[in-house]
């Protein structure tokens, strides 16, 4: 049932998860904690208090040398040129035809552009980026040496600020700083994938276990809870954040998937720009929307067909029980004409017709995250 091949990598924190009694599962080539105490209680701990995540499976690249920023900018739909030092930018990276190779975060750091990519796409992205970099711009893959610990939840600052060697409360979302956390050198970034306030801590593998131990110990009083991938998924889902491989992939464009705000057609040439200009001009054929079933006890699932009458008009890309809202919800693509809120569609949930209304994303609008959206 677990589907592990035995060849999965372990993060530097693997032993910590096992000691905590986590349920370990293979994910994107790594053995990762799916849950510790239970995914609903973990989800609620992040919404109500503060949680700690091991996200060391994520990939990290450093692109350096003269022209590195411009070279990476040319691979992204969003604008990296002009980003201030230590600023971060969320962006899709597209194929020539506008399909999404990956979605990532790019940091403008003094030693180069730091890219954080999805674990499942590390090898593909490394090839794609190297193929497109001009001579003189260097590519480094530091994924196997880098750990990522995220602290997320409304009590994040209350927990983290006293452990820092410098203030972090003033950092805006999508900015970062090099600092010591509980005595450990880290890149500290006010980013996350939960809808709550939070920081992500990039550290060398060698220091990750001691940092994890210190955070867990110092977090006891405030109720710091370890959070697995299952709760991470429901947290991002309630925010309508896209999951690569489910909601976006090489067959979807950012204009279709609600990421239009990350597409800067006017910034100058970039890979995929012509295709996106053309799609924008001709009209986007389908859009990613939220789906709210009429009955509270129906849970849409990935792959369920969406119909109007007998005609299939799309499919569900992510569907789950949403713990903060107490009901099943879905995200999926529908023909653009049908993407207006309150449009009625039928979800075929395992052969059962479930009426649902198109709804705006995010589903959950009460998070503690400063600012309105992902960037």
């Amino acid at each position: 049932m677990s589907g592990a091949t035995g060849n999965e990598k372990k993060t530097a924190l693997y032993d910590k998860h096992v000691a905590l009694g986590a349920r370990m599962v293979p994910f994107a080539g790594y053995m990762m904690p799916l849950s510790y105490s239970g995914q609903i209680s973990e989800h609620k701990a992040v919404r109500n208090k503060v949680g700690i995540f091991d996200l060391s499976h994520m990939g990290e690249f450093i692109i350096s040398g003269p022209g590195a920023i411009e070279a990476v900018d040319h691979l992204l739909t969003n604008r990296l040129v002009g980003a201030k030092p230590f600023q971060a930018v969320y962006s899709p990276m597209c194929l020539d035809n506008g399909g999404i190779v990956d979605d990532l975060i790019a940091y403008n750091l003094p030693d180069g552009v730091y890219l954080v990519v999805n674990a499942s796409n590390i090898d593909k992205d490394a090839r794609w980026i190297q193929e497109h970099l001009p001579a003189g711009v260097n590519f480094g893959n530091i994924s196997d040496h880098t750990s990522l610990i995220a602290i997320q939840g409304p009590a994040t600052l209350e927990f983290l600020a006293p452990l820092m060697d410098q203030p972090i409360a003033h950092l805006r979302t999508y900015t970062s700083v090099r600092a010591q956390v509980a005595g450990v050198d880290a890149l500290v970034s006010r980013t996350g994938y939960t809808g709550e306030d939070g920081y992500e801590l990039y550290v060398a593998n060698a220091h990750a276990p001691e940092l994890w131990d210190r955070l867990m110990e110092l977090g006891q009083n405030i109720g710091l809870t370890p959070i697995g991938l299952a709760a991470r998924d429901t947290l991002r889902f309630e925010m309508g954040y896209c999951l690569y491989g489910n909601d976006i992939d090489e067959t979807t464009t950012p204009l279709e998937s609600g990421l239009t705000w990350t597409v800067k057609l006017e910034k100058g040439d970039f890979v995929g720009r012509n295709a996106l200009i053309e799609q924008n001009h001709r009209g986007v054929p389908r859009r990613l929307v939220g789906l709210r079933p009429d009955g509270e006890r129906s849970i849409p699932r990935h792959g369920n067909p969406l119909r109007i009458g007998d005609r299939q008009v799309g499919h569900v890309t992510s569907g789950t029980f949403a713990p903060s809202l107490g009901m099943g919800l879905g995200m999926g693509y529908v023909e653009s004409d049908l993407s207006r809120p309150r449009t009625q569609v039928t979800i075929d949930v395992r052969g059962k017709d479930v009426l649902a209304a198109v709804t705006v994303l995010p589903f959950y609008a009460y998070g503690s995250r400063p600012g309105r959206r992902k960037a």
Binding site: M1, S2, R23, L34, S35, G38, Q39, I40, A230, D233, T234, R297, I299, R301, T320, F321, P323, G328, R350
Partner: protein, 128 residues
């Protein structure tokens, strides 16, 4: 993983407890662990006939959905109504508070086709 010796098991992870001419049915500790947090259970109406090996209901966890298979043939004489408000009882107490249906046992011989505790442990061990 807890697997009581006095119960019988299906390969689809239901347990059955014979009580005279009736049987209690639920899902195993292993199954609830694999499913994760359970949020809804759909059970048959009382009086409905179920057949060994056929679907009698569904169970929805946060992450996934799974069918429930009748371990033996019979008629449903009671369902666990408290699961409507407390589906988490299946996670917390799969063999006791998390029971799902009580059925008549039409053909006790069907029990022979089920696994005993050791057989079930071997079965889920092999599934890993």
């Amino acid at each position: 993983m807890h697997t009581p010796a006095e119960l019988k098991y299906t390969e689809e992870h239901e347990w059955v407890k014979l009580e005279g001419k009736e049987a209690l049915v639920g899902i195993t500790d292993y199954a609830q662990g694999e499913l994760g947090d359970i949020v809804f259970v759909e059970l048959p109406a009382e009086g409905k006939a179920v057949k060994q090996g056929e679907v009698f209901g569904t169970i929805e966890a946060v992450k996934t959905v799974s069918d429930l298979y009748a371990p033996v043939s019979g008629k449903v004489i009671a369902t666990n109504k408290s699961l409507t408000d407390h589906p988490e009882d299946i996670n917390k107490s799969p063999y006791k508070d998390g029971w799902m249906i009580r059925i008549t046992v039409d053909n006790p011989g069907e029990m022979e086709k089920l696994l005993n505790a050791d057989g079930y442990k071997t079965h889920v061990g092999a599934e890993h």
